[in-house]
């Protein structure tokens, strides 16, 4: 079921650029990430799905850049949410590979995604309001620099959080972790 949901997300991510620019070139370009995503989900292999997610984003960016026009706020937020669901579905599929799945595992994941969707929607509404206010206050000449600095800052901040969380280990180092991944077969 998780894989089907991931597959549905991959199809949605494939369809999103096509909806904006329905041409054979866009349809053909989207086939590679779709194939990677389906392969990763079917084989419960996480890495092709991550690559597919990045390719979906690149294709979506290219199409939006080519089409131009006003920003599609809700569509973009849906694409972002689709990426999260795709990546998490691939991850969960790998975790549950050849495993007995206990009651409530899938339901808890679905509830988390619904919560994340609500949070994303709230953040989009709030962010749009803030962006309108900031756009009128800031000089337009400094916008690219601010955008680049902001993007870099956010990515560095997140990388710092990830690295810090990775270092936050307990004082007792477990032999299982020292020996590598204790769960064979999870790729």
């Amino acid at each position: 079921m998780i894989q089907l949901l991931g597959g549905a997300c991959a199809l949605g991510l494939y369809a999103a650029p096509l909806a904006a620019l329905p041409t054979p070139a866009v349809a053909g370009a989207g086939l590679l990430p779709l194939l990677l995503a389906v392969t990763g989900l079917a084989g419960r292999w996480r890495r092709p799905v991550t690559v597919a997610a990045c390719l979906f984003v690149a294709e979506y960016a290219a199409v939006r850049w080519l089409v131009g026009g006003p920003a599609d706020v809700l569509g973009a937020a849906a694409v972002g949410l689709g990426l999260v669901v795709l990546l998490e579905a691939a991850d969960l599929a790998g975790r549950t590979r050849e495993a007995h799945i206990g009651a409530g595992v899938v339901a808890a994941q679905l509830a988390r995604w619904i919560g994340l969707a609500a949070l994303t929607l709230a953040a989009v509404v709030l962010g749009s309001g803030l962006a309108v206010g900031l756009a009128s206050a800031l000089p337009s000449a400094s916008a690219p620099v601010l955008a680049a600095a902001g993007a870099l800052g956010v990515v560095l901040l997140l990388a710092g959080i990830v690295v810090r969380a990775g270092r936050a280990r307990s004082s007792v180092r477990d032999a299982a972790s020292a020996a590598g991944d204790p769960f064979p077969g999870v790729r």
């Binding site: 979506y60 706020v73 990426l83 007995h100």
Partner: protein
């Protein structure tokens, strides 16, 4: 437990970073919004989360089984606070296979509500296995942080070789003093009639053979043969083996040794074991059910430990190899050191029988069908026939056994007759 950031977090970070970079390059605000979902998901890493106190326990349905049997492993997990996903990897020793269920589970834990799973493990081969280590990984609600740990609860499972019932056994030439199932050449108390002799003072009336007395005109009594047990020492060759587990020559030899031990113990004999290999291991001869457990335990552990050093049987205590014991040597005759040791025992007056496990068919099956393999196996079989003839010339009864055939077929060739009568002295 050790905390880790899961690969999912790195995947989300890559997607968010990529979207942010493309947003700057393409100057499109949609890309910022595309990155918003992964960013919000990653935000869960910003707050500290203590490691959940996960307790994983397991129970194994048996601690001693026979080859080919199953045990049921039941794993139960509890936690002091909710765990969105607990991955558990149950124990599976090398050589064992999961017969039913799955040894891996993804569970959701709530405080006070234990969750668990069950699976069955089959053990096709003998051995001593540890089923005590369980590896688990608890993930937080976001799935971005995981705590790994292992629960070690020693649980030793002994898989004994499966004995086959035997109808024929090599008969010991020299019975011992204790009462048993063998008809001794010596006359005395017993059930089996032995000889008829004239009545002498002190003979009991119940021993009088009235039919012989009437025919011969004087009183005659029936003498009976004593029934005695024997000391049997099984000498297992652990110097070398061929084949693929659980069907190596040593595995077949161990099964044969277990079958012999079971059959001799059922006849009230005292049975011992000497594992002759890189390390010499032994079990002193004794009888009874406990002795079977000791022998099965030692046979379960038996393995080939490679060494160039030729061990001397002098290191074996005399109580392990009692005088006049029947020694059944179970060997594939792959190493000349074992042949020398067997000849040494024979020269020291032990009643020795060699059960020779044929490695030819096992090797042929392992190598697969090929003309060169078939030719080599034929030559090898001829060479082994010469080896067996050499052993017989040295006075050692050699019983060739192809493991594809029942062991009884090989033992039927032992052809030992009942001992001649002797006067009790």
């Amino acid at each position: 437990m050790t905390a880790r950031v899961t690969p999912l977090a790195l995947g989300l970070l890559a997607a968010a970073g990529w979207a942010a970079a493309l947003a700057v390059l393409s100057a499109r605000v949609e890309l910022v919004l595309v990155g918003l979902g992964p960013l919000l998901a990653l935000g869960a890493l910003a707050r500290r989360a203590p490691a959940p106190a996960v307790r994983v326990e397991h129970a194994v349905s048996a601690d001693r089984i026979l080859e080919g049997e199953h045990v049921t492993v039941t794993v139960t997990a509890t936690a002091d606070r909710p765990v969105a996903l607990l991955e558990v990897l149950g124990p599976l020793p090398a050589g064992a296979v999961v017969a039913a269920g799955r040894r891996r589970a993804a569970l959701r834990l709530r405080p006070g509500h234990p969750a668990g799973f069950t699976y069955e493990v089959a053990f096709p081969g003998r051995g001593v296995h540890d089923l005590g280590t369980i590896v688990f990984r608890a993930r937080d609600r976001s799935g971005l942080r995981a705590w790994e740990g292992r629960c070690v609860m020693p649980h030793v499972l002994r898989v004994y070789p499966r004995p086959t019932p035997l109808r024929t056994l090599p008969r010991p030439v020299h019975p011992q003093a204790s009462v048993g199932d063998y008809v001794s050449p010596a006359l005395g108390e017993g059930i089996e009639p032995g000889d008829v002799r004239p009545f002498t003072a002190g003979d009991r009336i119940r021993q009088v053979n009235w039919r012989a007395s009437l025919r011969l005109g004087t009183l005659h009594v029936t003498q009976r043969q004593r029934e005695r047990n024997a000391d049997v020492v099984i000498m297992l060759d652990t110097l070398a083996e061929v084949g693929v587990p659980p069907g190596t020559t040593l595995d077949h030899g161990v099964r044969a040794a277990a079958s012999l031990a079971t059959a001799y113990l059922a006849r009230k004999d005292r049975v011992g074991l000497v594992s002759y290999g890189g390390v010499i291991d032994w079990v002193r001869p004794a009888s009874g059910r406990v002795q079977y457990e000791r022998l099965a335990d030692a046979l379960g552990r038996a393995g080939v430990i490679f060494t160039y050093v030729a061990k001397d049987l002098g290191v074996v205590p005399p109580r392990v190899l009692p005088p006049r014991a029947l020694v059944v040597a179970v060997t594939p005759l792959l190493d000349r050191r074992f042949t020398r040791a067997a000849l040494d025992l024979s020269a020291r007056g032990f009643d020795l029988v060699a059960l020779v496990v044929s490695p030819v068919e096992i090797t042929r099956a392992a190598l697969g069908p090929a003309r060169s393999v078939a030719l080599a196996c034929r030559l090898w079989a001829l060479e082994r026939r010469a080896q067996l003839a050499d052993l017989r010339r040295q006075g050692i009864p050699a019983l060739p056994w192809d493991p594809a055939e029942p062991l009884d077929v090989a033992l039927a060739g032992s052809g030992r007759r009942r001992p001649r009568l002797a006067i009790a002295g």
